[in-house]
Symmetry: C2
Subunit: 261 residues, 2 copies
């Protein structure tokens, strides 16, 4: 916290700095503290945890909304977090890092593909209490108003309590006027069943659009998918230790040294 | 497996289809089964779990090395896996998905940033036994020869045994001639301490190169970093359920419904 006890809140997204979702988020955070926005200059949905290493990054201060400290970045959502902490805030850690509000759900397996969630993961790696917010409406016309009291209360909860070490929150909202409440959940087991749309360009060369159908493989009642389907906002604690710890004893039983040696 | 009992092996990477690392990997896999290569047409290091949704993808058969079935893709490593399974193999799952051999380590927190590892994660999401391989040599002149007997034996182990459900392997090799053996490990807790290199372009506008220093925060002797430092190849079982399950009881104790309601 700063001397005035006003928290500094870093706001990021993956839909780009002009998306309505980040405007709703920054305005809500403004009620809580000092807001610094560092967001991609173009849509970065599906960028996952990508970082930019093969080319340099641009970072420019922009004057988009009155009274908002905002920077647009040419890189990915994760680049934005790194530039925010190291260049914009000059190494001073913000008290909170919030990402979104995403136009579209980031529940279940989407946590891996989502630039919104990867920005929040990066915030947590940097040791900043971090939250990703997403709404089940993929349009640019999405109405976030019914989510904002939840967004504010969850941010205040995270500022008041300590998240467990190396843990962040993945918050998703159903697209209904009266959200029933908040459920703490686990990530539902699911995958995207891809369907590539093959087309021909004017030069008779094929190209492919990635499309897919969300395929649930999880009947659990403690998942984020279940909570959202039943009208609740889902809160999944997320970690970035990807070790399958339970598999270590099994793998230790394998005959690793035999075939090739 | 096919009727002839020869496994079909999908080979991916993130350094691009012309990298020496993928050539070493495909040649080693050729000793085991039918090899299908689908790799990015340009370097995709640091692409993490990015997918391409805002523009279409190109996929072209190429004749790079004699007797190799190879396709180059304009997308990310994860796109390559999706196109391989759905378009190249027409929905038929390969028996094994191997990614790499990466020019550079993907141990510890690098599992999140690495296109090589994200391709293997995507393979596992698709239900394919998957392994990512990486060598501690970032140059294009890297010599992979001392790793190949390990690569082959690990691939054979995975084909012979079943990996636990929703689990893949992250294998890293030290850059020493005589690797001592294989250690099953957990992902070391670490992060990159960024140092952005700010420069001026000829038009007097600043730009930034992302650089960083790997910062270990883990003294454990059961980590991948420890194994590599002591001359062993590290094998970390990786999962894509990112839920911090241990945090759920704590979060259930928070007063979620109070501040905003």
């Amino acid at each position: 916290m700063t001397k005035t006890n006003q928290p500094t809140i870093l706001v990021i997204n993956d839909d780009g700095i002009t998306a309505p979702g980040i405007k709703a988020l920054m305005e809500t955070m403004k009620e809580i503290g000092r807001v610094v926005v560092v967001a991609p200059d173009s849509p970065q949905s599906g960028m996952g945890h990508a970082i930019t290493i093969g080319k340099p990054l641009r970072l420019d201060k922009v004057d988009l909304y009155e009274g908002m400290e905002m920077y647009r970045c040419s890189g990915t959502p994760v680049d934005c977090v790194k530039l925010a902490v190291n260049v914009v805030l000059k190494g001073q850690k913000p008290d909170l890092c919030v990402s979104g509000i995403n136009h579209g759900l980031n529940n279940s397996i989407n946590v891996l593909y989502s630039g919104t969630m990867s920005a929040a993961v990066e915030g947590a790696i940097e040791g900043i209490p971090s939250i990703g917010f997403s709404l089940d409406d993929y349009t640019l016309q999405a109405d976030f108003s019914h989510c904002l009291k939840f967004v504010k209360s969850i941010a205040l909860e995270v500022l008041a309590n300590n998240l467990p070490p190396a843990t962040l929150l993945n918050v998703n909202f159903p697209n209904i006027k009266h959200i029933k409440g908040i459920k703490v959940c686990r990530q539902a087991a699911a995958k995207w069943a891809e369907e590539f749309d093959e087309r021909m360009d004017p030069h008779k060369r094929p190209y492919y659009w990635l499309t897919g159908v969300f395929q649930m493989n999880d009947q659990g009642e403690d998942t984020d998918v279940h909570a959202l389907e039943h009208g609740y906002a889902s809160v999944v604690p997320v970690q970035f230790d990807m070790t399958a710890h339970h598999a270590i004893p099994l793998l230790n039983g394998w005959k690793w040294s035999e075939p090739g040696f």
